[in-house]
């Protein structure tokens, strides 16, 4: 008599096998580079999905994801309600529905190039190192390749992922290239209803003197899994400036790898995680300083209610050559309920001797004196709490210079609060 393996490792193995089987069944019809795809299939078959024994996954267990079932996507139409949740901003729209490019909902770029219809793999992703990236590479079906020519301002692009909640799994693969001196503001909005898997990979090549502003809103369905990986490589004098508003999903992991490859390159990885009920969200950053005079800034704010759990892992690596590195990392959490939990793991690996690196983490509740001060002026308690929560977020939100994006995020935060973010149990 044989005993079937059980437990988290068996569930992860079974899920990886199921994804590989899906690939085997459909591989002749999947678009794009079949060689890259086959390599990742072999990696996934050999390495499986991230498990609880890996240090980088200590605080985020993928078992609930492994136990769910996802179908391949089909062409779908988003509801009017879903479309209405897109920010009302002047932008070139690139809309994906259940992971597939939807041309009727999208606009035509002017002055820069966009290609869709197959995965935009690029060369920055590391499927051998990041298992979810191997999964993405193996099953990716669509994505946007955005190419901004030198010294061109592409303005604002709204890259929207709408999920209809049809229990599908999709793995978009986007690649964004900014040639020297180019500029782009990318509003990266991922929203949806219900249950599904959204496992996107975005890669950014930021050439010398180029600036990309990556403003993300993750507001997925209540039963959704959002597992995203971003790679940004920044050349001399270039900037990867990002902010992520994280509101959604049942289980979310947003991993960002930023490499400052040339002198005076900069990266900002700011975020606000607002979680409630039994949501779990993990914001993990790896910033590598590989050249002198590079700067990185991370201000990550967490507001946790209900039984939610927030995770922040921030790693700063400073190579020996990266003298005069300026690294700053601050992670703060506001716990609005006794059952919420924040796990914070800063890591500094510094091999240069002339650097300025600082990090800090705080966890606390709303300040009773501040709450009383507001109430003593006639502000009702719920409104006073909302004001203090918004004030807590301001350090991360205020640097967002794109007015329209910031207004949309403010509205999303207000809606989050109104719909139950203030629930304290």
């Amino acid at each position: 008599m044989s005993i079937a393996p059980s437990g988290p490792l068996a569930a992860l193995k079974a899920a990886a096998d199921s994804f590989v089987a899906d690939y085997q069944a459909r591989k002749t019809t999947l678009p794009g580079d079949s060689h890259v795809r086959a390599e990742s299939a072999a990696l996934l078959a050999a390495n499986g999905l991230p498990g609880p024994r890996e240090e980088a996954w200590r605080y985020t267990a993928l078992r609930p994801f492994a136990e769910a079932q996802f179908k391949p996507t089909a062409k779908a139409e988003p509801s009017a309600a879903l479309l209405a949740r897109l920010p009302h901003v002047e932008a070139t729209r690139l809309v994906f529905v259940d992971g597939r490019f939807h041309s009727e909902l999208s606009g035509v770029p002017a002055g820069f190039r966009v290609t869709t219809g197959e995965p935009a793999y690029g060369t920055l992703a590391r499927p051998a190192a990041e298992k979810l990236v191997a999964l993405n590479t193996m099953l990716a079906e669509d994505g946007a390749a955005i190419h901004v020519p030198a010294n061109t301002d592409a303005g604002t692009v709204l890259l929207a992922s709408l999920a209809t909640g049809a229990a599908v799994g999709f793995h978009p693969r986007h690649h964004i290239v900014l040639e020297p001196g180019a500029q782009l503001t990318l509003l990266d909005v991922t929203i949806g209803d219900g249950e599904y898997l959204h496992n996107p990979v975005l890669t950014f090549e930021v050439a010398a003197g180029a600036t990309v502003t990556h403003l993300r809103t993750q507001d997925e369905g209540a039963g959704a899994f959002h597992l995203s990986t971003v790679y940004a490589e920044v050349a001399e004098g270039g900037t990867y400036d990002s902010f992520a508003l994280i509101l959604g999903a049942k289980l979310a992991r947003m991993e960002v790898h930023a490499r400052l490859a040339g002198p005076n390159a900069a990266a900002h990885l700011n975020a606000a995680q607002l979680l409630g009920a039994s949501q779990h969200a993990d914001f993990t950053t790896i910033v590598r300083h590989d050249a002198p005079n590079t700067a990185s800034r991370q201000t990550v704010k967490n507001v946790l209610t209900g039984r939610s759990r927030g995770v922040f892992q921030g790693k700063i690596e400073v190579a020996r050559v990266a003298q005069k590195t300026d690294g700053y990392q601050m992670n703060q959490a506001l716990l609005l309920s006794a059952n919420a939990e924040m796990d914070s793991k800063p890591q500094l690996e510094i091999y240069a001797d002339d650097v300025k690196c600082s990090h800090g983490a705080t966890v606390g509740a709303l300040d009773a004196d501040q709450l009383f001060y507001l109430r003593s002026r006639g502000v009702p308690e719920a409104e006073a709490r909302a004001i203090l929560v918004r004030a807590f977020l301001s350090e991360a939100l205020d640097p967002i210079s794109h007015e329209g994006a910031r207004a949309a995020m403010e509205a999303a935060i207000a809606a989050w609060w109104a719909k139950g973010g203030r629930v304290q149990t």
Partner: protein, 249 residues
């Protein structure tokens, strides 16, 4: 306007107020003077509804309502204002937005129309000017980076905008130089009239040279031990508190 009878209160099981009897009629300004630890701040916090204070007995009636049963914001909307001894800093909260939110919350609670941003700013700028406050104090975060004098002026600005029926000024004079003290006193005096009452809590007689009270009460060991006219403050200044404090048993 305010009628307190036999008010007893404690914090963490320690009795602080031991039966306060005090009446402040409408339109009058009363001063409460007392040494450190006499219960001055506790009285102001109990009346404004701060958490952590246990009312063990007695009543407090404000404008016909039992205020001890009300939430802090309800007390404010009913017309009670506390000028804090240590105004609280609110990083990330713009002062003008804060003031407008407070004013409109009270107006809403009273069924009055809210002020829009333009109406409000006009009003706030005029009041700020009267208090010699630079315009930029409205643009800054609430009390963040304010000097002691600026914080107190900001309290008086809030009072001027909110137009309370009764203001409790908790050691508003502490940490003020003489010029700031005059500005603050002028701000309070400007509100005096038949519909404004105040309870001025202070350690020193100095403030009462500028805000001349109708009555002075001496608080010691959680009780009012002596009441009189403005001359009582001068007697205190000359003789100190010792003459008014009952000997410890």
């Amino acid at each position: 306007m305010l009628q307190i009878n036999g008010l007893k209160a404690s914090i963490d099981g320690k009795s602080i107020l031991n039966g306060i009897d005090l009446t402040v009629p409408q339109g009058e300004v009363h001063a409460i003077m007392g040494p450190n630890g006499s219960g001055k701040s506790t009285l102001s916090y109990v009346l404004s509804g701060r958490e952590g204070y246990e009312v063990d007995g007695g009543t407090a009636n404000f404008d016909g309502q039992d205020i001890l049963a009300m939430e802090p914001e309800e007390r404010a909307a009913a017309g009670l204002f506390l000028a804090f001894q240590y105004p609280v800093e609110l990083p990330g909260v713009n002062n003008a937005n804060f003031l407008r939110t407070a004013l409109n919350a009270q107006r809403r609670a009273r069924g009055e129309a809210e002020l829009d941003a333009v109406q409000f700013l006009k009003l706030a700028r005029a009041e700020a000017k009267r208090l010699s406050m630079p315009d930029d104090m409205l643009k800054r975060n609430v009390n963040v980076g304010f000097s002691g004098g600026e914080k107190k002026r900001n309290e008086v600005l809030q009072m001027a905008l909110l137009r309370p029926k009764l203001a409790i000024l908790d050691e508003t004079d502490s940490g003020l130089d003489i010029d700031a003290l005059k500005i603050v006193a002028d701000g309070v005096n400007a509100l005096r009239g038949p519909t404004f009452s105040a309870l001025v809590i202070t350690h020193y007689q100095r403030l009462l040279d500028h805000i001349v009270p109708d009555r002075v009460h001496i608080l010691a060991q959680g009780r009012i031990v002596k009441s009189g006219g403005p001359e009582l403050a001068h007697a205190l200044e000359a003789g100190g508190y010792a003459a008014f404090i009952p000997e410890a048993a």
